[in-house]
């Protein structure tokens, strides 16, 4: 009896250990991940000239921004990507913000104008840092990394350990919005849109028995599948409108355009929908389709970058992760909501390409599917 259900036995016996193995690989990766230095930029406004208030005479004082930059370089927690001297390069801060916006760095360390002056006069030092707070889990790590550089600077230059670190959260949620809701909405939207898209379409082919009878009418196979895509795309459109409307009404803080968010959700949902139809076209029975859905969704979640950053995975897993739609959901939506980025970026085009490939394959599989009445 078991032998008549080979596929499902295979899924039941092979998939769970594979998933555990994948978790194991991920776990070993995360435990051996060396602490990656955080990319940063230093922008110095330090003029290292001192104007005496009493007589307004100007004198040169010790240049402390140079040694601080050296301390940043020495720190194992920071990776200095660039140094801008804002006293000569007026666009330095703008360039730094651009790097922060495009996620090439996570911190801008700004040396204020009176940095050297304060230290020379034995006042407590002051460093400003602008942190990418779109990922709340990383804020503390970023601050600790800057403190590390300050410790090294103080030690190397025999300064008093009093130092003030002023943090500015870039891309932070304003106070009148719920940070909990806004921080959780990104992941929730990605999961929901792809998951519901798949669930909606996982049985559309395999469950609909009258398709066999429909094929004995002048209608063509392509027309049947196209009709399904059109129908469920319309459902997806309505779903996305209601999702965006609900999120906004409950206090979603969005820097970017609402239309971009809608488009991002649509392309994510369409990828999920196409994946569902693909699975349905390739499955012989409902049970097979359900089991495939479970296996595929599990892999989607595990390789989405939530548990282990994709960049930290082995190359072969990274390749797989970048093909999967869920891996692009978080950066795409996050970029629009917290940073005001345009939807038309790498993630959008990858999702579009994946969807097109799935659509093409589902048409091919459906055309070859055997129906007998």
């Amino acid at each position: 009896m078991l032998w008549t259900d080979k596929f499902n036995i295979f899924i039941a016996l092979v998939v769970p250990p594979l998933v555990i193995a994948l978790l194991g690989v991920m776990g070993s990766i995360s435990s051996t991940i060396p602490v990656m230095p955080i990319n940063c930029v230093v922008v110095s406004y330090d003029s290292n000239t001192f104007i005496n208030e009493n007589n307004f005479t100007e004198s040169r004082i010790d240049n402390y921004h140079g040694p601080y930059v050296n301390a940043v370089n020495k720190s194992e927690l920071l990776n200095l990507v660039h140094f801008y001297n804002a006293t000569t390069d007026i666009y330095g801060m703008e360039s730094a913000r651009e790097l922060l916006n495009t996620k090439q760095i996570e911190i801008i360390i700004a040396i204020p104008v009176d940095f050297s002056e304060l230290l020379t006069l034995n006042y407590p030092g002051l460093i400003d840092c602008i942190i990418d707070s779109s990922d709340p889990q990383k804020i503390q790590d970023n601050i600790n990394a800057v403190f590390d550089s300050v410790k090294i600077f103080v030690k190397d230059n025999n300064l008093t350990p009093q130092f003030e670190l002023r943090g500015f959260e870039e891309f932070a949620i304003p106070e009148n919005y719920s940070p909990k809701f806004n921080n959780s909405i990104v992941m929730t939207l990605s999961f929901m849109v792809i998951g519901v898209g798949m669930v909606l379409t996982i049985l559309v082919i395999v469950h609909e028995q009258p398709i066999a009878r429909l094929l004995l009418t002048p209608i063509k196979r392509n027309e049947i599948l196209l009709a399904k895509y059109i129908t469920y795309t319309l459902v997806l459109l309505i779903q996305n409108i209601s999702l965006v409307a609900t999120a906004l009404s409950f206090g979603l803080y969005i820097v970017g355009s609402v239309f971009d968010l809608f488009l991002a959700l649509f392309v994510l949902g369409f990828a999920g929908l196409s994946l569902g139809i693909f699975i349905s076209s390739s499955s012989k029975t409902k049970t097979e389709a359900n089991q495939l859905f479970f296996a595929v969704f599990l892999v989607l979640v595990l390789l989405s970058g939530i548990f282990v950053p994709i960049s930290a995975m082995p190359v072969y897993l990274q390749f797989v992760a970048y093909i999967l739609p869920l891996s692009h959901g978080d950066p795409l939506i996050n970029g629009i909501i917290t940073k005001g980025k345009s939807v038309f970026g790498f993630d959008f085009y990858v999702l579009l390409l994946v969807s097109i490939i799935l659509v093409v394959f589902s048409f091919i599989l459906f055309k070859r599917r055997k129906y007998e009445v």
């Binding site: 028995q209 009258p210 002048p218 209608i219």
Partner: protein, 337 residues
């Protein structure tokens, strides 16, 4: 309307249909009879463009077009209707009958208003209760679903309607009802019908009956003509004998004019013989002389069922004789070598 000449179907090494030929005229009801595996459904699948051309050969025309050419499929399928055996292959159970009509008729390009109008008239002919027209199909009875299935097969007024086991799974009393509905529809709409069935009672409404066995067509003619081809034009003597057993039957079979003798009850046999009127009194005398007690006797015309049984039996005997001959020949050859 349908022409088939030397149709052969092969799936790999299996020869499913062998040299089948027949012609069907407009408005005829054709019954295709045979046990499972006879090839009935395969033939219908060829006619309904379900089997790819590489698997079959021969000349086939359905409503003037050959299913050989893929470009003809759309036109052929728009000219035919199909009623599958299982309703779940034909009906969306979560939708109402009229909603089902809309779905299937849209594939034929029929407008919604026209489709509903035709559907309602068919539903009336087929006695589908009005109060079910807008309720979900799953709440209909089995018989109602069957009739709805037939209606959907006929909505677009096809030239040919194929019905796969229309009476299977239906109560004995309802079977005649379904057959009479089919006859009624055939008379009203002049639709040519192919009925694939194990139910030999369907021959009652058939203009022609085809009997298939192991892919071969054994007979194709009107049921009456087929029955007339039996000894004495199908006349049978039905005799009830006390304590009837196989031995008694073997003794009775020694009466030479007997062509067929079939046990049809505990103590009842049906006998077919040459020159029925002349030999009947002689048969009675023969039985009495052998010391057997005849408790009842009647005469009747053979049914199609009898013809079917006899024809199949003849074919089986033929094959047995052929294989015995083959074995004997082989033995002779072996002895020679």
């Amino acid at each position: 309307m349908v022409e088939v000449e030397k149709l052969n179907v092969h799936f790999g090494k299996k020869h499913i249909v062998r040299d089948v030929s027949f012609n069907v005229n407009k408005g005829e009801i054709i019954g295709m009879f045979g046990i499972s595996g006879a090839g009935k459904t395969t033939i219908i699948r060829v006619l309904t463009c379900q089997i790819v051309q590489k698997y079959w050969s021969g000349k086939v025309n359905v409503t003037g077009l050959s299913p050989h050419k893929k470009r003809n499929h759309g036109v052929i399928l728009s000219n035919i209707g199909y009623v599958p055996q299982l309703e779940q292959l034909n009906l969306y159970f979560d939708l109402s009958p009229l909603a089902n009509v809309e779905i299937f008729t849209s594939t034929y390009g029929m407008g919604k208003i026209e489709a509903v109008k035709v559907a309602k008239s068919l539903f009336t002919i087929l006695d589908i209760p009005k109060d079910t027209w807008n309720k979900r199909v799953k709440y209909m009875s089995g018989g109602e679903k069957k009739r709805l299935s037939m209606a959907i097969g006929l909505i677009h007024n096809p030239n040919v309607l194929f019905l796969d086991e229309p009476t299977t799974g239906v109560d004995a009393s309802k079977r005649y009802e379904i057959l009479s509905y089919l006859k009624k529809l055939n008379q009203k709409l002049q639709t040519t019908m192919f009925i694939i069935t194990h139910d030999l009672e369907a021959a009652l409404i058939c203009d022609k009956a085809a009997i298939l066995r192991e892919g071969k067509m054994l007979s194709f003619d009107s049921p009456q003509k087929l029955i007339n081809s039996l000894p004495s034009n199908g006349m049978i003597a039905r005799v009830t004998i006390d304590n009837l057993n196989q031995q008694i039957i073997s003794i009775i079979q020694q009466f030479s004019p007997i062509q067929e003798i079939l046990r049809v009850g505990n103590e009842v046999v049906e006998i077919m013989m040459d020159d029925f009127e002349v030999n009947l009194p002689k048969l009675i005398q023969f039985i009495v002389n052998k010391g057997f007690n005849i408790t009842a006797m009647s005469r009747d015309i053979a049914t199609f069922r009898r013809f079917f049984q006899i024809r199949i039996k003849e074919e089986e005997q033929k094959e047995k004789d052929q294989s015995t001959l083959l074995v004997k020949n082989k033995e002779v050859e072996n002895e020679k070598t």
